[in-house]
Symmetry: C2
Subunit: 207 residues, 2 copies
DNA sequence: TCTCCTTTGTTAATTAACAAACAAAGTTAA
DNA sequence: TTAACTTTGTTTGTTAATTAACAAAGGAGA
């Protein structure tokens, strides 16, 4: 499968999460307009996304929930799983760990890193905190391919360098400092300050 | 000024943050390609954004840093400021408060809300925690127009209803549950699970 | 049986976002 | 003085994303 559009990938992730809830409720089939309502998009968008992954529903019954979840899994997940590291064991790091622990078999947070000596060796919801200078070694040992940066803003750049040096394949940067990565690393920036300023701008124009 | 494109607003917010750093370093002028390098975009994009807000630089010197910061402020900020509430005083709420406190004069977090009795009345970095059932009243008293949702996922929907009822104008939702708002409220969803799954998908395809 | 209705799957059109191209203007240097 | 260079501002083209449009299929109900 050639790589899917950015936005489609995001939506598939969201669809799956709600499909799992539907499945847990015993719902066997779902229509495109039901999915659309949950996510505030159009049914056409949903059908288009599903078309792109090559699934096909049945007329008048819609999509089989279990089958669709299964297929989205085949698209999004790596069969052997992917291990994730949190860099920065502050409030945000802890929030992320709590969110993810025991949620997804195929995407597990297996290590946290921090620079503060008093945090080293402690465990956050079962995830051990290692010193930053062991990052490269632990990444290799634990076969980690994704890093989430949630350190204070000034450390974003050096931490990125560490992750790149450790041969990480994907980085999710939660600091407001834009960072640089080479071609062979996927980078996603998620800047909370910008998100809030954006909401503020558009809220300003609401009656 | 008619409302700017979504993406332009995001970039202006980011430009400003780095321009302030430049200003603090005493840099008076900056070229479009310098801004572009910092943010990993093209100089053309930068010039286009700046064109959209009607600023004009000087040939061979570039843009005046102070003037540009000032103008972006006029575009993005509300002169009388905007007050923000955090709903959910967990790890993520604390992370956000720490991020924002004393950062921006025009965008201040003035209250936090939580459902757990033991948190009520405590103060996080100077921001007091109120019980959830006082939300409407406090929002009115403190003239809050933006709410950031960082409660556990199951409470996202009822909390949104509370915020809408309290006549909030903008909502930033950090839970993975999509929520519904009426026309006159701006909603931004920022789902960490999706962000991570997206990174995982694209990282999978890196060599 | 036949018509209408619902819902999918797909193509076509539109819109939004980004990038390329280049004229204009002023600076430097020969 | 004049030619080359730099950098902005704007137009035009291109790519990506969304929306609109509609054929096909297969019930439901008259």
């Amino acid at each position: 499968m050639s790589t899917l559009p950015d936005k489609t990938v995001e939506r598939l992730s969201q669809y799956r999460r709600n499909l799992l809830i539907c499945d847990a409720k015993g719902k066997e089939h779902i229509f495109s307009h039901e999915i659309a309502n949950i996510h505030h998009i159009t049914p056409v968008q949903v059908r288009r996304d599903i078309m792109l992954i090559g699934y096909t529903g049945t007329l008048r019954k819609g999509y089989n929930v279990k089958e669709l979840v299964e297929l989205i899994g085949q698209i999004l997940d790596k069969p052997e799983g992917q291990n994730v590291a949190i860099v920065g064991a502050g409030n945000l790091g802890r929030a992320l760990i709590k969110y993810f622990v025991n949620r997804r078999k195929n995407l597990q947070i297996v290590a946290a890193f921090d620079i503060h000596p008093e945090k080293i060796g402690t465990s956050l919801v079962g995830v051990e905190v290692y010193p930053l200078d062991q990052l490269k070694q632990i990444v290799k040992e634990k076969n980690i391919c994704i890093g989430i940066i949630c350190v204070p803003v000034n450390e974003a750049v050096p931490v990125t360098a560490l992750l790149v040096d450790a041969k990480i394949k994907g980085i999710l940067n939660y600091t407001p400092r834009p960072v640089n990565v080479p071609e062979n690393v996927y980078l996603e920036e998620n800047d909370m300050v910008t998100s809030l300023e954006k909401v503020a701008y558009f809220a300003k124009n609401k009656n």
